[in-house]
């Protein structure tokens, strides 16, 4: 291509040569996407290490390894790192990589802000993790940070500053994603022809912008209660500890959907590819995501059924929560119908997607049970809840991320990963994750509370099974690391531009690996090349 002399050379050709220039100063959506993905994988292993400590202490009755206070630091840090460090940034990384490629845009709308939103994250987590090495230790009041307990900690200011940083990063990321999707689509990429993944991120980004400031407000009130003599949550000073829970969960419930809506999008891309059949009910899928997002704002108090809400409130939040099952059900039924009548193959991304549909649905079932307030008087704060949210978050969100990684790795790296090792990783993960989490339903129903470092002998067997599953699942993720490293650096098998036979969409029209700059000139869109170009059938 002949380029105009007025243009800077680097604008149109490969990446900057210097390491610092390329990675630290990057404004390229692909490189920043890669940074996000590497960061979140690192956090996944750090958070995973904390989980190993938890499961090791819970391996059998009696305290063998750590002090109870340290145990609480581990549960708190595990959750914070996994939610804010592993799941959320990996979705942002996928958004960075794939949204411009999927809508035919040359880059994200605000590339410099993109750089900033990423580079805030490592500092936020350095700050958060450093508290573990400080006198007084890290946060130990649970990721939900309920006062007055959380205010007893010595690390409050550090944690709150870290949360603020994460929030700023998320909000900037969200603004960028919305701006990109709304302004930078190639001509002909109508909103209702966009991939479901792009739709899911558009909606998620609005959720982020709506609720991250709420979290920021809640933790700031904690900060002033602790250091500046306010009494927002201090009953002795006329405040109300339950107020915090309302504010926190007004953020917290949409937050859990922030961690699953992009997963819905990913699964809605992968299943049609490997079923070689268009997604069933595209519009219903988009509408279901939007209605789940809307409902997520009016269900927060289902986390608070046991705080003694007035009966009217319990009934309202119970009904609203149960309603979410309807659009969620629609999604599951539509995925199954997409498979029905297809021509399926079962490569690793598809395996993870199928496991997602089944296991996420199991998490949805326990969610429905938890929504029944009288039954939640038993389930609440037990291992039943722990099982619920790990089914939706690990076999839901995390599995979708792994599915996405296998699905798009050929596009990112230009190489095919080892299908054999991918499958080994899949089977090892899917079996161990159930050994890990399924028995936790039984423990919760039998009466084991969550967040305890030691337990009655009656709970011994299932805890041991769960711990074995935990170590096994943890070890299985090392296979994933191996597969990724092999694929990127050592794989001899080159990926085709359209890496999967049934894959549709703009991202498969560019070379593999995707060159540093793509769609400098907007692509000409042919509806039948899009995954969802013709939604009228």
């Amino acid at each position: 291509m002949a380029h105009a002399a007025t243009h800077d050379h680097h604008d149109h050709h490969g990446a900057p040569k210097g390491f610092f220039q390329r990675w630290v100063m990057s404004t390229n959506h692909k490189d920043i996407g890669t940074l996000y993905l590497i960061f979140s994988l690192t956090m996944f292993f750090i958070g995973g290490a904390f989980a190993m400590v938890i499961r090791a202490e819970l391996f059998k009755p009696g305290m063998q390894l750590v002090q109870p206070y340290f145990f609480n630091e581990m549960t708190t840090m595990h959750a914070l790192v996994m939610i804010f460090g592993a799941i959320m940034p990996s979705f942002v990384g996928l958004a960075n990589w794939m949204i411009p490629l999927m809508v035919g845009a040359p880059d994200m709308a605000l590339p410099r802000m993109n750089n900033l939103s990423f580079w805030i994250m490592p500092f936020a987590f350095l700050l958060l993790l450093s508290t573990l090495f400080m006198p007084g230790g890290g946060p130990a009041g649970g990721w939900t940070m309920y006062p007055p307990l959380s205010l007893q900690g010595e690390s409050v200011a550090y944690v709150i500053f870290a949360v603020h940083l994460m929030g700023i990063s998320s909000i900037m990321g969200a603004i960028n994603i919305i701006a990109t999707i709304l302004n930078m689509r190639a001509p002909g990429m109508d909103l209702l022809k966009m991939p479901v993944f792009v739709w899911s991120w558009l909606i998620t980004a609005f959720l982020l912008i709506a609720v991250m400031p709420v979290l920021a407000g809640a933790v700031t009130m904690l900060l002033t209660d602790k250091y500046f003599g306010t009494n927002f949550f201090n009953a002795a000073g006329g405040g109300d500890p339950v107020l915090f829970q309302h504010i926190f969960w007004f953020f917290g419930h949409p937050e859990v959907y922030i961690m699953i809506l992009p997963a819905f999008g990913i699964i809605s891309e992968i299943i049609p590819t490997f079923a070689r059949k268009p997604i069933f009910g595209y519009r219903a899928m988009v509408f279901a995501i939007a209605s789940i997002a809307f409902l997520s704002f009016i269900v927060w108090a289902h986390h608070m059924f046991a705080v003694g809400l007035p009966m009217g409130a319990e009934i309202f939040f119970m009904y609203a929560t149960m309603l979410i099952a309807v659009p969620t059900g629609v999604k599951v039924f539509n995925w199954v119908s997409t498979m029905w009548g297809g021509s399926m193959t079962f490569e690793t991304p598809m395996l993870f997607s199928i496991a997602f549909v089944i296991l996420f649905t199991i998490g949805g079932f326990s969610g429905l049970m938890l929504a029944l307030a009288p039954a939640d008087f038993q389930y609440h704060d037990t291992y039943f809840v722990v099982a619920h949210f790990h089914y939706v978050l690990v076999t839901g969100a995390a599995f979708s991320i792994m599915a996405a990684a296998y699905y798009w790795l050929p596009k990112w790296s230009g190489n095919m990963y080892s299908e054999t090792w991918g499958k080994i990783h899949f089977w090892s993960s899917v079996i161990s994750v159930n050994v890990l989490f399924f028995p936790q339903h039984f423990l919760g129903l039998a009466g084991m509370p969550r967040r305890i470092p030691d337990y009655n002998v009656a709970f011994a067997n299932f805890n041991m099974i769960s711990s074995i599953g935990g170590f096994w699942f943890g070890a299985s993720q090392l296979i994933f690391l191996g597969v990724v490293i092999h694929c990127v650096f050592f794989s001899k098998k080159k990926a085709a531009d359209r890496s999967w036979e049934g894959a549709k969409g703009l991202e498969w029209t560019v070379p593999s690996p995707a060159p540093f700059h793509t769609f400098d000139v907007p692509p000409v869109i042919h509806d039948d090349e899009l995954a969802h170009g013709n939604t009228e059938h």
Binding site: P278, G308, V330, A373, A446, A458
Partner: protein
């Protein structure tokens, strides 16, 4: 493991499996227990839990069944050719409407459960429960319409468990048993004694941070929050000893503040309560005598 141990755990599994499908009343956690206890109180969410569970199981069988059939029939390796359709209004209406009907049914059940739980009127006695880091305090407020005179006490983890649970104590948790049941971390120095067949109102508050008072056999938990007085009730049908724990993270020893409720027949309870009241009186008398001796001028009362 000895063969006896294996035999025991096999029979425990069998009992557990039986209980999942047949239903059995556990008061306290059983080894390998799979399901929620039916409880021993008049109000219990057990039936609703079972209905919800079976609804989920049936839906699961249908959905996952369809999925496995699809995975079997429509594989490329069996020569399946992809069809083109991707929409069916009829189907979509069906699978929106059917779940709504199921949900209305469940919501109806749950609403009934909530209304009866919220109704603490007509209770025959009141007990105030206060959560502290890391023990419980019980105060008997009234019984059969009469105020109770100064009966209240702290209840905390019993000493053998407490010694055993210290880091690297090398003591065996399995050794702590009452009547063949493990009571490790589920026993206290002084249990809460209550009458059976009596509607008891609990007033639950938090003394420092938030705790949650939970005895599974009574069917509910209720948070103990500083500055808020929560109310809940129970009516225990069978005498027995019912164990539970704090259910809201409350600091380092959150796992070590159990709850033991000893339910006894009314007559026995009345005797016990009278004895406690007498004891309180004696103590009070002794205290006043002491104060009078030590400090003849009483401190001004504000």
């Amino acid at each position: 493991m000895t063969s006896g141990g294996i035999g025991r755990s096999v029979s425990a599994w069998a009992a557990g499996a039986f209980a999942l499908f047949g239903g059995a009343a556990w008061a306290n956690p059983e080894p390998n227990q799979l399901n929620m206890t039916k409880g021993v109180a008049e109000w219990s969410p057990y039936a609703m839990h079972m209905v919800a569970l079976w609804v989920c199981v049936v839906i699961g069988i249908v959905v996952f069944g369809a999925m496995f059939i699809a995975m079997f029939r429509f594989r490329k390796s069996r020569g399946a050719v992809a069809e083109k359709w991707s929409h069916s209004t009829k189907l979509e209406v069906v699978w929106t409407v059917i779940p709504v009907i199921i949900l209305i049914f469940l919501a109806h059940l749950a609403t009934g459960g909530l209304t009866s739980f919220a109704d603490t009127t007509n209770s025959e006695m009141t007990i105030k429960v206060t959560g502290y880091q890391w023990k419980w305090r019980y105060d008997y407020v009234d019984y059969k319409g009469k105020g109770v005179d100064k009966v209240g006490f702290m209840s905390k983890l019993e000493e053998t468990s407490n010694r055993t649970r210290q880091l690297k104590s090398n003591l065996d948790p399995a050794k702590i048993q009452v009547d063949g049941y493990s009571t490790y971390l589920l026993d206290v120095d002084k249990p809460l004694v209550v009458p059976t067949d009596t509607k008891i109102r609990f007033v639950i508050v938090g003394g420092d941070v938030i705790h949650s008072w939970w005895v599974p056999a009574l069917g509910w938990k209720m948070d103990a929050i500083p500055g808020i007085a929560n109310a809940a009730w129970t009516k225990i049908k069978e005498p027995g000893v019912y164990r539970g724990q704090c259910a809201e993270l409350c600091g380092q020893d959150h796992g070590f503040m159990p709850i033991v409720v000893k339910a006894v027949p009314k007559a026995e309870f009345e005797q016990w309560l009278a004895a406690q009241e007498d004891e309180a009186k004696v103590q009070k008398a002794a205290q006043t005598a002491q104060t009078v001796q030590a400090a003849p001028a009483p401190a001004p009362q504000g």
